[in-house]
Symmetry: C2
Subunit: 273 residues, 2 copies
């Protein structure tokens, strides 16, 4: 390969950094890749860093010292976050989305990679102070959202099964009470799926009374996991008191009237978190 | 904002293009964004295109004409694909991964975003001639793989539920016979989850006899969907005759001897596809 020009190096570095958020790359790594001086690489990185900062799309963080280097951290500006959530809340506030039992049809939105990508970045940005080892969710609808959050943190996903069909060796099962319907369900996780003492963030798509989230918390205790945070895309205004206390909801199902076909989804005010 | 320098424009364009594969961006879109001449944007894009091509990581395709523009298509070189699959097959060929009933423990790998990202790109590259409207999978373990494939195609994911707990209005259910265990299962999909006549690619993590894939094919017929392709990460050598004929497998479970603790996973030769 001939000598790389700056603009070419920048294409490659931007791609590598963006595809592996939260991963530290040394100057030497890039210097060797491009057969270039570390000072040139350093200038390249400054350009990438300043540009991302200017457009409010991601942060390039420099870690100094012997084990130092540079890493890309997903960043979502307040304006962009508001735009994304506003657009989602408008789409969700459509009477055609009302499902029996006080639920909303939303799989068309939460299974769409272009929307999920942004939501994953929002969660990763909101929880950027945390250093999770794993993102944890319960099957099924929350999986895409949790995976995109895991991708933004560049850590593996752990999926709790909500039936007994775990076929992965010994598993821990717990029963939990659905906070809204008072039905008893069970969830299981294979022992080997989560090392004891792991730090985790729990992500789910929907929270009504919080019974499922409480079940996950209980299960996490069995694994001696430290739960750093809980994030849900939408929670419901009613019941106001959730079984789980500390969690971050992005949207709120403010009103759902099945008979009169009224549904209202709002952006939550999370300034207190 | 001051005038953008070429290297700055390239950071932003690389980010935008990579985050929305298969999406067409016009020259005018970028020209307006940067307040730059279309000729400059065109030169920027040529640099990005040639660089991606040189490193064998993605293709920038130019579509000419009035509705023309440029789009990023994930591309995985043969060497990179072999490296990824070789590394995976070695990890999977570990006797500690043997599970009762002829299964392999692999959720630590197929729930890991850094591995999934590459696998999604491999499927998108292998099926790059296809223009799917949706990627379809059956819960649960195949969901992350299918989502990353959907992301590489920039189309929504559709998840078939394998129980009757579809709470999304009217649904179509079918019974299917698991090809290996001969057990009868059922899978369901909400009517509104997939518009009639859609073009789909089916992605799953594992295929033994193909009974589940056959069930998905039958269900897709109910939705008048056109199945463009089926992709699975691993299939098994035995039984040699699958219920489903045309599919692409990346890896093959060549041997699994529970008693003697021998497992062997190989890269499949897919030159015929």
């Amino acid at each position: 390969m001939e000598k790389w020009r700056r603009s070419e190096r920048i294409v490659v570095m931007t791609k590598i950094l963006l595809e592996s958020p939260h991963k530290l790359f040394t100057l030497g790594y890039f210097a060797q890749m491009f057969q270039a001086a570390k000072s040139s690489i350093s200038e390249d990185l400054t350009i990438i860093k300043n540009t991302l900062q200017d457009i409010g799309q991601g942060r390039l963080e420099t870690v100094s010292g012997a084990a130092g280097g540079v890493q890309y951290l997903p960043f979502v500006s307040t304006k962009e976050e508001q735009d994304i959530l506003q657009s989602l809340s408008e789409k969700l506030s459509d009477p055609n989305r009302i499902l029996p039992g006080g639920y909303i049809y939303m799989t068309d939105l939460i299974y769409d990679p272009s929307i999920l990508n942004k939501l994953g970045h929002i969660f990763a940005h909101k929880f950027s102070e945390q250093k999770p080892d794993y993102i944890v969710t319960v099957e099924t609808k929350g999986i895409p959202l949790a995976l995109m959050t895991a991708k933004a943190f560049n850590v593996p996903l752990v999926i709790i099964r909500n039936d007994g069909r775990v076929t992965e060796g010994s598993a821990v099962s717990i029963n939990y009470v659905s906070g809204s319907s008072k039905k008893i369900g069970s969830m299981s996780l294979a022992r080997k799926a989560l090392p004891s003492g792991s730090k985790v963030i729990i992500i789910d798509d929907f929270m009504k009374a919080g019974g499922t989230a409480k079940g996950v918390l209980d299960l996490m205790q069995e694994f001696k996991a430290e739960v750093l945070a809980i994030g849900v895309l939408i929670d419901t205004k009613e019941p106001e008191t959730k079984v789980v206390k500390d969690y971050l909801g992005l949207l709120e199902l403010d009103k759902l009237d099945e008979i009169n076909k009224i549904i209202r989804v709002k952006i939550k005010n999370n300034n207190n978190i």
